[in-house]
């Protein structure tokens, strides 16, 4: 077991493409770190550089105290699970799991108990003599895990290992990978484009975009305090609602104007973000998570926040809760980092639709996460109370969070 350090690491391909730039990151011993980002963000390249499958153009990667830049993969003491499993089709499950031991000249007598123990952990004991083609997708995935586990390496590397499984199996395997990682306590770097996977699995999550590290924090912190517009829109499902707002000073108060709505910011919000005062008279991006919009408070006359008024266009009933898509009079933020951060293509389409729909009054679609008991109906006009403690403010030019 060892920690990992990326020290000013960069990767430039022969054709000049820069896949990773100035990556600085430290993974503690035994930690489970997730690299997440949209395709082409450099997460897999970073992992492959760590594995030794890709040369490092600049900087230094250390595993423990060892600089591994020039070490071949086999000397790095890492094990990797590939997206497509990459099993050896002509070998049995036992041979697949034991291949790395064979390469390390572990005798057959010593290897067998280790292979069996690994198979037991993964529930593969009955399949040891089968070939990969005789296994289901989930079982193949376990064999790929088994190949990594049996080595007892210093570091596990996982490149989207669950993306080929169906949704139910993915949830199950997620828990299983976490259980095994905790049990073995091996430092793990896990790459995924799925922010739900990142949120649920990582001790810390590194969000990457266009080869640059955006933020590296525990998942809850990423969610609650995103460093910029990209992280804000990428983390969370449904995505954060991001609207243009104008900051104005009215006497001692500071208000945000969103379309026709005015949201007065209470002193504790301002004291947490003193820089906001400097934006008076300017337009910023205002972020509101779906759960920060409440319909019942408005109906009951409760809630001291500002209110957004709009027409319900669609409702997604999810059982314990429902998602209301409400068209409000406001201008959506269409900055590149917002559109890129939207994982859901439909969400991006929503934005595009609004953009072409401009007929004087600009409208934006916001999503509100409401209680299942909320009685909202399509085409009904509703008022949504905004939870002021959960607002996010971003500089429209730089995309950075407006904070201290």
């Amino acid at each position: 077991m060892a920690g990992i350090t990326f020290d000013k690491v960069a990767k430039t391909y022969d054709d000049g493409t820069r896949a990773v730039s100035d990556l600085n990151l430290e993974v503690a011993e035994g930690e489970f770190v997730v690299f997440v980002g949209p395709s082409g963000c450099g997460k897999t390249t970073a992992l492959r550089m760590l594995a030794g499958l890709e040369e490092i153009s600049e900087g230094e990667i250390r595993i423990g105290d060892r600089v591994v830049n020039n070490l071949p993969p086999r000397d790095r003491d890492v094990a990797m699970v590939f997206q497509n499993y990459a099993l050896y089709p002509h070998m049995t499950v036992a041979e697949n799991i034991g291949f790395a031991l064979k390469m390390r000249k572990v005798s057959k007598q010593d290897a067998r108990p280790r292979i069996e123990e690994t198979a037991r952990i993964l529930g593969l004991l009955d399949h040891l003599d089968r070939k990969p083609r005789q296994l289901s997708g989930g079982q193949r995935q376990r064999v790929a895990m088994g190949r990594a586990i049996v080595r007892e390496p210093q570091v596990f590397l996982m490149d989207e290992p669950l993306s080929n499984l169906d949704a139910k199996l993915r949830v199950q395997m997620r828990a299983e990978i976490l259980r095994i990682q905790r049990q073995l306590n091996v430092t793990t770097v896990y790459v995924t484009h799925d922010q739900v996977e990142a949120m649920t699995m990582g001790d810390r999550v590194a969000v990457l975009r266009r080869g640059l590290l955006q933020q590296f924090e525990p998942p809850q912190r990423l969610y609650e305090q995103p460093a910029n517009l990209f992280v804000a829109s990428f983390m969370g499902s449904p995505a954060m609602n991001i609207l243009e707002a104008t900051v104005e000073r009215k006497g001692d108060d500071v208000v945000c104007t969103v379309g026709p709505a005015t949201i007065a910011l209470p002193p504790q919000v301002l004291s947490a973000r003193p820089a906001l005062l400097g934006y008076a008279g300017r337009t910023i991006a205002l972020g509101i998570r779906p759960e920060a919009l409440d319909e019942s408070a408005a109906r009951n006359g409760n809630g001291d926040g500002g209110r957004l008024r709009g027409v319900v266009r669609a409702i997604e009933a999810l059982g314990p809760e429902q998602l209301a898509h409400v068209e409000v009079e406001a201008k959506p933020v269409l900055a590149e980092e917002v559109v890129e951060g939207l994982v859901d293509i439909e969400e991006a389409d929503d934005l595009a639709e609004i953009r072409s729909d401009a007929d004087g009054a600009v409208r934006a679609m916001v999503v509100a996460r409401l209680d299942a008991s909320a009685s909202v109906r399509p085409e009904e006009t509703v008022e949504l109370v905004v939870n002021l403690q959960k607002l996010h403010f971003f500089d429209l030019d730089t995309g950075a969070t407006i904070g201290a």
Partner: protein
Amino acid sequence: MSRELRSTKSAVRRQHAGRALTYSFLAAVAIIYLFPFLIAIATSFKTEPNATANPLSLAPSPPTTSAFHQLYKDQDFLLWVKNSLIVTLSVTFLRVFLDSLAGYALARLRFRGRGAAFATIVAVMAVPGVVLLIPKFLMIRQLGIYNTYWGMIIPLLVDAAGVFIMKNFFESIPTSVEESARIDGAGIFRIYWSIVLPMARPALITIFILAFQGSWNELAHFIISAQSTSLNTLTKGVAQLASGQLGVGNRYPLKLAASTLMTIPVAVLFFIFQRRIMNVAAGALKE
């Protein structure tokens, strides 16, 4: 009977007639192709007068195995078989190994001149073999391997088409399998030998069949690489029989008995391996 039913029936009849015509044509073509083989087999069981009188008949009368006896008794048939086996098996196994080795290097290893090397190999494929006979003869003499098994075997060990086939096949194997093996601790040769080669079985079988058939049926190269009768292969022996001395008759049964026996190994090999060509990569990856 309604009009629709009648028209359906006539359409079905037309379809049947069309199909019968197609199959008759295909059967005729098949017979044209098969006929020489059938004549060869039939004639090898004929007496010499019968073969001369009815060369195209498929029914030997009376049937006899005397041509085969004659082959063993009067000719060096077993020596030819031995020489053919030595040369063919050496060429086949070594060619499969070397073609796959070269194909793997060209498909996966990054080295200076790789593109040029591959372009040269492709260019060699365009040169007719007969053009190289004299230069090959001169080189074999120069190297001092004329009239030896080495002279018969070495020049056949690698072929451009085989390298080409193997390279293309290796490129179709997902790199992640090899990367996985690299991380597991395997070196380049180990990856080639233990991981990639077993996955390339369909291509290897193709090369195996082509190499076996090619060297078993090779004649021109054996003519220029050896002169001694003790190094005669089946092709050379049968060719000498076919050119025959004057005054011994046409010897059709003898020649065709030799030809028939010569065909058997290639046919057997083909039937064995044809069944074993299958997709061995199944299960390696999630498609």
